[in-house]
């Protein structure tokens, strides 16, 4: 049995997901179709047994946590105590108890008294995997704040502020937009966190606030296309990122149904494509390459041929196995490591 929290803009639901692959048969008082039998016709008794059936997955809503958010919810994160969770919208973060649906506590509020002065919003938040009093939240200006709930009831003052100084050589009118963090995820170990901004993935050591320890370029070839991507709104796309179970590989999505993996140890990276045309089930995915400029080699794709409507925003990695889930606009792909 699994519990999953979902959110649709402003309402949070807790779902129970269960699998059923057996059903009971052989009741004494009911027919197989459910109709009651006339007790007088029962002459023998039997013990009902479980028989296999086609696997059925059921999702049923168990709790609805409503009306605590004025703005769109961007994150939910369950605490390591499995009793509480946080929900974050553009300006506020609330703390809930899983059993209490009509009340939540506001733990972060960055709404200015005068909305004219608003220049920064919350973009993502997550609880620390091991410390149940610690959480982080990221902003549209590329900063991450780590907060300790023991410090005060309202965590408006951060314990740590993570921010990388801007590279002056890359400065443009789009610098702020592309620095906006779309996702933040702690490593399973709890020692690192990963952030995703428009062009890169950054790994931060929680003990070092002034710069990330690793940076991986997801699609640097888009840097010269920022104006077009601003015009067609792609620059506002929010990509997620995820860690593998051992924290040695990180993965994130891109355009043209491409997704990228970076091996932190070998420093190698790979680009793969999630599409039905190019991959039959059970075939090994072929690495893809984007040609940024110059002569395009065979099998490479030029930047101008990329389909910006095919974006992979959501990816997930099984916490223990090498199985990944990748969502394109209309399809969900599940891939696994090839079995030797």
């Amino acid at each position: 049995m699994t519990q999953v929290n979902t959110t649709s803009y402003k309402t949070i639901k807790l779902w129970k997901i269960s699998e059923r692959d057996k059903r009971p048969e052989g009741y004494n008082l009911k027919e197989e179709d459910g109709r009651y039998r006339d007790p007088t016709t029962v002459t023998t008794l039997r013990v009902p047994v479980f028989r296999p059936m086609d696997l059925m997955v059921e999702a049923s809503p168990r709790r609805i946590f409503a009306n605590a958010h004025t703005y769109h919810i961007n994150s939910i994160s369950i605490n390591s105590d499995y009793e509480t969770y946080l929900s974050a919208d553009d300006l506020r973060i609330n703390l809930w108890h899983l059993e209490i649906t009509d009340r939540s506590f506001n733990i972060v509020d960055i709404k200015p008294a005068n909305m004219e002065e608003l220049t920064e919003v919350i973009t993502a938040a997550e609880f620390h995997p091991n410390s149940c009093n610690t959480f982080v939240y990221s902003s549209s200006k590329g900063t991450i704040r780590l907060c300790d709930m023991r410090a005060s009831a309202l965590c408006d003052r951060h314990s740590k502020l993570f921010e990388e100084p801007e590279d002056p050589s890359n400065r443009s009118f789009f610098s702020e937009i592309i620095s906006s963090i779309s996702d933040v995820k702690f490593s399973h170990s709890g020692r690192y966190m990963m952030t995703r901004d428009y062009l890169s993935v950054k790994i931060w050591d929680l003990n070092m606030e002034n710069r990330p320890v690793e940076t991986y370029q997801v699609h640097e070839y888009l840097r010269s296309k920022l104006c077009s991507l601003y015009e067609n709104d792609c620059i506002f796309d929010k990509f997620e990122c995820c860690w593998n179970g051992s924290d040695s590989v990180v993965m994130t999505g891109s355009y043209n149904n491409f997704f990228r993996m970076f091996d932190r140890n070998t420093k190698r990276d790979i680009t793969l494509e999630a599409s039905r045309e190019n991959n039959k089930p059970r075939t090994v995915l072929k690495p893809r390459k984007v040609c940024a400029s110059g002569k395009r080699k065979k099998d490479e794709i030029s930047v101008d041929s990329l389909d910006f409507n095919k974006k992979i925003l959501h990816t997930a990695w099984h916490p223990k196995e090498n199985i990944i889930a990748v969502a394109t606009t209309n399809n969900l792909y599940i891939f696994q490591d090839k079995v030797n």
Binding site: K225, S228, N232, D304
Partner: protein
């Protein structure tokens, strides 16, 4: 621009004039493209608050971009000062609606003196750029969407200032939307006119990079692919700042 008589008289200075014009072309090309980015951003902001469920993050990012452009324009003297009344209102975001609104009107009436910046400092760049920016005026449909009698009257009538946009995002009520729209001139909502007027319309001279711009539509558009090549050199110039 230059009367015939003047040209004949200044034969000796022709090279200087051409050199100045060439320099002017580079400067004005960047200014035009920056202006185009500013206009695009303002349209996006307007479209933002027309949505039933506006995206606050996106609006904030676009508004910050607008402020950045404005700040740069103020620094290099392109930004002509407002009438004193608005200049008293310190917050930079207030300048967005009034300044941009009013510029086209001022150009038609004749450039106002740069009161806030000091005449001696700004006279040169302002007058140099004057011919360029007045060339933009025809791109607006003849007193259609941008109809204005004078700067003061238009404050708040056509272009909602940033604070009103954010307030809208807060309340997000369909009836609220209607209230906001009620006092806006109807020509504004002929978006096609506005957008085609701004982009791809009759543009003189150094605007080749912008000719190929497709009308901005909300949401990703598949025309991006064809636009990418055409916009590259626009981006190069913008990114080089």
């Amino acid at each position: 621009m230059f009367a015939r008589g003047l040209k004949r008289k200044c034969v000796g200075h022709e090279e200087d004039v051409e050199g100045a014009l060439a320099g002017l072309k580079t400067v004005s090309s960047y200014s035009l493209q920056r202006q185009s980015l500013l206009d695009m951003s303002l349209v996006k902001l307007q479209l933002c608050h027309m949505l039933v469920e506006p995206n606050l993050c996106r609006s904030v990012l676009i508004a910050n971009t607008v402020r950045q452009i404005q700040e740069e324009m103020t620094q290099d003297g392109t930004w002509r000062a407002v009438a004193p009344q608005a200049a008293e209102r310190a917050p930079l975001d207030r300048l967005v609606s009034t300044e941009i609104l009013c510029r086209a009107a001022w150009e038609q009436e004749g450039a106002h003196p740069a009161s806030g910046l000091g005449d001696s400092h700004t006279q040169g760049p302002v007058s140099d750029l004057c011919p360029v920016t007045s060339a933009q005026a025809p791109r607006h449909p003849q007193s259609g969407a941008w109809e204005m009698d004078g700067p003061r009257e238009n404050r708040g009538s056509f272009h909602k200032s940033l604070d009103q946009i954010f307030e809208t995002l807060e309340t997000k009520n369909p009836s609220c939307m209607e209230e906001l729209f009620s006092d806006v001139d109807s020509p504004y909502y002929d978006l096609d006119t506005v957008l085609t007027g701004m982009m791809g319309g009759a543009r003189p001279g150094p605007c080749e990079g912008l000719d190929g711009l497709a009308p901005a539509t909300p949401g990703p558009s598949s025309s991006c692919k064809s636009d990418l090549g055409e916009l590259d050199h626009v981006v190069e110039i913008l990114v080089e700042t």
